[in-house]
């Protein structure tokens, strides 16, 4: 049972290094397959101030097979699915090596938050947002961090759907004034990957209206 030994040792190593601000613990003491890890959002990024929880499943063949990791905390990031928390990172797939530990994998995730790879996206909508309008992307990512990754999070608060996806409220108002419902507008704008509206771009506006009328 080298796997149990190794996991225990890894847990100890995390405890011995409080400086890293990484936490790792079993979900259930009797099950060494299933852990939860967490780390802090890297400073100087929209993720600063958040604590991100990662669900970790350790396969039987560990450490020869990579652990399966996904975010429990909702994250707005090009390489992380905004819906499921699935992660697109090479070391968790084919670039895995037995010398990588759960701790170093969590640190890699932290580094991923620091430097996204929009050209190899997991969430294409988010990736487009990142590439097209960095400022607006940062605002949305920070909002998500505040809502979902902070102690005083979104629980009990109502969240504005448009703001949540980084859509300019002016754009929503424009269509609301034409009598369309807000939910529908947000849904269509998301689908088209449109965050801001250029009032002179009639072709796009017509395309959206056409879609809204469907």
């Amino acid at each position: 049972m080298s796997r149990a030994k190794r996991i225990m040792k890894e847990l100890q190593a995390v405890k011995d290094d409080p400086e890293a601000r990484i936490e790792l613990e079993f979900v259930n003491e009797s099950d060494i397959h299933h852990l939860k890890g967490s780390f802090l959002g890297p400073p100087g990024t929209p993720y600063e101030g958040g604590q991100f929880i990662v669900d970790i499943e350790v396969p039987m063949e560990y450490p020869f097979k990579p652990p399966m990791m996904k975010f429990d905390t909702k994250v707005y990031h090009p390489n992380i699915s905004s819906v499921t928390g699935a992660i697109c990172l090479d070391i968790l797939k084919n670039a895995w090596s037995p010398v990588i530990t759960l701790k170093s994998a969590l640190i890699s995730l932290q580094a991923l938050l620091q430097s996204p790879e929009p050209n190899d996206p997991q969430d294409a909508e988010v990736a487009q947002h990142y590439l097209k309008d960095r400022e607006s992307f940062n605002k949305t990512a920070a909002l998500w961090t505040k809502l979902y990754a902070s102690p005083d999070g979104a629980i009990g608060k109502s969240v504005d759907e448009a703001e949540l996806y980084g859509i300019d409220s002016e754009a929503v108002k424009e269509f609301e004034s034409q009598g369309f419902e807000k939910d529908k507008i947000v849904e269509v704008l998301r689908r088209f990957g449109i965050k801001k509206l250029d009032p002179a771009d009639n072709a796009t506006i017509n395309r959206i209206i056409e879609e809204l009328l469907k």
């Binding site: 030994k5 699935a86 990957g193």
Partner: protein, 542 residues
Amino acid sequence: MASDEEYSEAESDDSLYNYESRNTSVDLICPKNPNLTSDDSEFDIDEVDSSDYDEEDDIDNSLLATPVSPSTKKALSEGSVPNLKYECLTTKEIYEKMLKRINHLQPVFSIPPDDVLVLMQHYDWNEERLLEAWTEKMDELLQQIGLKSAEVNGSSDVRGIKHRNDFMCIICCEEKNTDTFSLECGHEYCLDCYRHYIQDKLHEGNIITCMDCSLVLKNVDIDQIMGHASSTKLMNSSIKSFVQKHHRNYKWCPYADCKHIIHLKDTSSLAEYGRLHYSPFVKCSEGHRFCFSCGFEIHAPADCNITSAWVKKAKKESENLNWVLSHTKECPKCSVSIEKNGGCNHMVCSNCKYQFCWICEGDWAPHGKSFYECTIYKNDDTKSKGAQEDPGKQLKKYTFYYRLFNEHEVSAKLDWKLGQTVGHKVKALQDRMGVSWIEGLFLIESIKTLNEGRTALKWSFAVAFYSDASHNLTKIFLDNQMLLAKAVEDLSELLQIKEPETIMKRKPEFYNKSGYVENRRTALMECGRDLLCKGICKPHDG
């Protein structure tokens, strides 16, 4: 009697194929492309784009203009590409050829052949790309691939297996007296962990490195760690991926458990012949005949398009394949079935390494749209809804032809069993009638003719299904089909005779009936090609 052994079943099967090869693939002259025969770079893959091919318009004329040899004529009448040059290999043979090339090239490199092997593996066995990279940046290349340690202090005496007391392996976290292994980098792990690590990677065929850095484990290291010749497995996987990557020139024999690979050196004319509805039929050294383009059995009179449409349809209709259809998708590149086993929609085919989107099956790289609303997927959906055919009528027509197709497939299997008993019959003839082996050959030829006739008949139903039923040529085709069916059944019946005496007495009948099947088959093939060339028969989603 030694001759008794010689004419056993297996032997007679072989002779059947030998006979065949004498007829079709030996001594073929090549009137159109004499430079084909130049053979100096064996693994030089000329993936000639068909659009570069500028002899398009000449091809039909040139076929007519050059005096047509009998073998070419036979190939043409069977819808097969004439003068096809190919060789049949195994992974081992390909690997041995690679090794020969490496020995040949070694003086250029001034490093051990084992290292050249790793370089070749890194460059997917592409000599030219390797040599190019080598002349550009030797040392850099060695470091980049991991044949040379980047650190100066990497000393060679660290390398290898050592016995250590109270060794703490950081992989398994066990402290024990054990053998360990490390490369020049000094990253040392216990042999158990190393074995486990290597075992998992052998089937991937990629270069295996140290667990902690990019230094390469050479084949000698792998064999030393594993304690036996495991590197052959790795090389085998590597060659397999080489074959997969060069699927335009290399194809696995599709027959179950057949390990042979067909290497077609020149594929430039295939597209052109394809347009004329000729298919590149090949035969591996086990005697399995198949179409190089689509991987199915000899499917004439149908061409590859008809065949693939027909087979897809058969799959679609089959209840058993429902699970496969709903849970797996074919890799858009190499058509291997892929099951999705995780949340990520970024799929990488384990076979050909193609990266695609699970939703729309498009290339991943330019992927721009939101993943839950892939437009390509939607388009596909609306397109299939828009198809305006009477589904009930189509289905009825399909079921009708599919039943016939299937019936002949079953019969072909039974005929195959019959073929096995023919060997016994030939032997019985020799034992009881004193007939020489050569004289008994007619039985083996008959069974071969029967097989070919049956296969052609089978695929002719696919052609019939996709043909415009109102056209006169289709009617002629159907008449021809009926005549072949009758001829095939007659011959099949004749082959059921068991008594050697009767067989010898009715020998002329065997010749007559076989000859008739042969003629009817050729007629049906020609007629089928006519339907294809005139566009009366074309694939459609019905």
